[in-house]
Amino acid sequence: MAYTVIAQAVIDGILNAGIFGLAAVGLTLLFGVMRVVNFAHGELLMVGMYITFMLYSAMGLHPYLSALVVVPALALLGIVLYRCLLKPLAAAPETAQLLVTLGVSMVLQNVVLAVFGADFRSINVPVGSAAFRLGEMVFPATRLYGFLVGMGACIGLYLFLRHTDVGVVTRAAVQDRQAAALSGINVEKVLVISAAIAIGLLGLAAAWLTPMVYLSPTVGHTYLLPSFIIVILGGLGSVRGAIIGSVVYGLSQSLGAVLVPGSLGILVPLIMFVTLLLMRPSGLFRGTV
Amino acid sequence: MPVLEVVGLTKRFGGLTAVNEVSFAVDEGQILGVIGPNGAGKSTLFALLTGFVPATAGNWSLAGTPLQRRSPEDICQAGMVRTFQIVQPFWSMSVLENVMVAAVCRSRSRAQARTLAEEALEWVGLAAKGGNAIGSLTIADKKALEMAKACASGARVILLDEVMAGLRPYEVDAVIDKVLSLRRERGLTFLIVEHLMDAIMALSDEILVLNFGATLAKGSPAAIQRDPRVQEAYLGVTAHA
């Protein structure tokens, strides 16, 4: 009996990692390439989710299909964010960019609040209530699809950085921007592409998350804190670390919910974070890949 | 009586051995020049000695106090301080305030730090520019500021890292004079990394030559200049006298 519960929690945790990974991977890429701490990461995800919601309410567009719209939209938003706010602060102390993204997060969250109100919204799509059965364990279809798409995208990014020309060039820019520029690499293009990818991935996560959760202007925070924890655990700037970190986080969250009574289960991933940080402050991996 | 003793100092970065079993001793009031081709490990040596880079092996001590595995601030308070090859001032503070930061750790009050700082600025000849902003200083002044900070910290042993790089000949002479007078009047000990051969030969009591992280030779300036191994390391060929 208990065995099934734990097995379910383990698989749930791994499945959740798919979506966590998308957010974390973008965040770590932004940090690795631009040394930027994006406090607006959660809010950008939230904006993506509201766009998905609007497309569904207005046009009946299935959320999974709206990814075709949301991903480019958010990628564009990422480029705008980089060009207008982050690039001018490239020479400023590291707190400046952090603060500017903080400002962006405040603006985004409250604009959405003003427009949509604080009420919870949700989408009802068939896939939202479908589920797979394995013995006594039940897995919502959305979670499985979320995992497949999320992990797929993360691993895709990893392979992209590892094996493609653009990927190698990006890693060069991360390691030594000056040297990369001197080698003829168009560093500006790398930064723009990275911003587009990082926020675009959030769009993907948004499209997949929307059928699964209740929307509110603060939903971004639910995903902001885990993203940062995962990024720090995995090693700042390491995509591989973010992927593995999201699995670790997902597991600790689901196992914590099952093994610890009440809502104290939320403490488990946080305690794990603090403990792991003590043991290995710089995170699991170094380097971009 | 050696004030600084270094035994078997080693630093490995993965597969690269940057500093290889370097051992030497420096007496109080001595000036030890450290030379070697680029990449020989000179700056790494200084970073190791002052705690900025953790050593892989070896130990060193100042007047008997072991310093390995201590933090840079501890090592400074124990009496050894370094200057930086690329000058590292506190950009938004004035010249005097820069030196006051160096003096504050051995002062009981800000006023006392100020007095010590003004004193240090006198020694390096920057007293007139105390109120200036860093941006208005010449490179020679910035290097002098690094020395002033080192002096104000109260250390007995000062590690000067290419403090003459980028200076004109008359500015180099001024630095040589300053170092000699500080040694004479304050009893300070110096380790100097330098590429200007004339200057370092004139200044040093003894010279330590590093190559590929290991000690190649150690001796008086005259002996080093004649040493064929040193000539080969620097020039690639053995000079035929």
Binding site: L85, G103, G262 | F52, F84, C105, R108, G135
Partner: protein, 335 residues
Amino acid sequence: MSSTAFKLAVLGVAAAVVALPWVGNTFVITTAIATLYLAYQALAWNLVGGMAGQFSLGNTIFIGAGAYTSTYLFLTYGVSPWLGMIAGAALAMALAYLIGCLTFRLNLRGLYFAMVTLALAQMAQVLVENIPALGAAYGLLIPVRDGDIAAFQFESRAAYYYIILGLVVVAAGIMSGIQRGRLGLMLAGLRENEDAARAVGVPVVRNMQIAFGLSALLAAVGGTFMAQYTLFIDPRSTFSWTESVYFLLPAIVGGTRHWSGPIIGALLLGLVSDTTRLLFGDAINGLPQIIFGIVVIVVVMRTRGGIVDWAVDRWRSRRRAAMKPVSTEATRAGP
């Protein structure tokens, strides 16, 4: 403006501030108290965030420590909140020390410190929400005892006003005192160039711990005050992410280098908040925060240090330009 005119202006402002409860109506006093509290917590944050340069997102932990300790001791044991305040401050300082051990010692500064403090603040919220003795998610209500000074409650609002005013003065005084002493010099060096400061003997961990501990102390005292003023505390309004961010805004906007920075920032933000409420009522939800966000963006992009710092720098560079020595050397500018 001449020196005497300036001094008279300062005296005038001070007189107006002191006399406010006599001339203002309830709305004015309430707003003033809220603004002063914001300024106070901003000054507390600035000790660690601005002066030590460590971006703390966890000051709500200390505010909560102060509020919950004094309230719990009062409700359960009848301990006067004045004493409870001291206990709360002690707890906050202990927590700050532990957090400092976790972060400063391990070289986890900058982003790490921000994230760890944020995570810990979230942990605090969840923890308190699950402890029935602390009111769980519903919070704690303090019974009204009007005029019972030993119970830290006063009949008139004016008393609260003067208390928070006094606290602001104390906090500003502490910040000013630190800046003019040894600690301020060391923190400034660490902030500007940590390696260079350490190279000349400035201890990092100890100074960070001191700044953080002081910040925690002040925050906790403020927490007790707020608990006694509103007579209600709950985890959500104490530890939330929004709260954590709220108290650092004035210092960012107003400036971190001078004690007037957080105060001016608080005044500005308070002004924005009240003006929008006056003009739009509650029609546009969250409008003040939108404006705050925009203000932060603009300030960070334009001034790189807050309004007061920017003004002081401009004034200083104008003065320095007047006494700049003649130099024909080409100088290398910038780090």
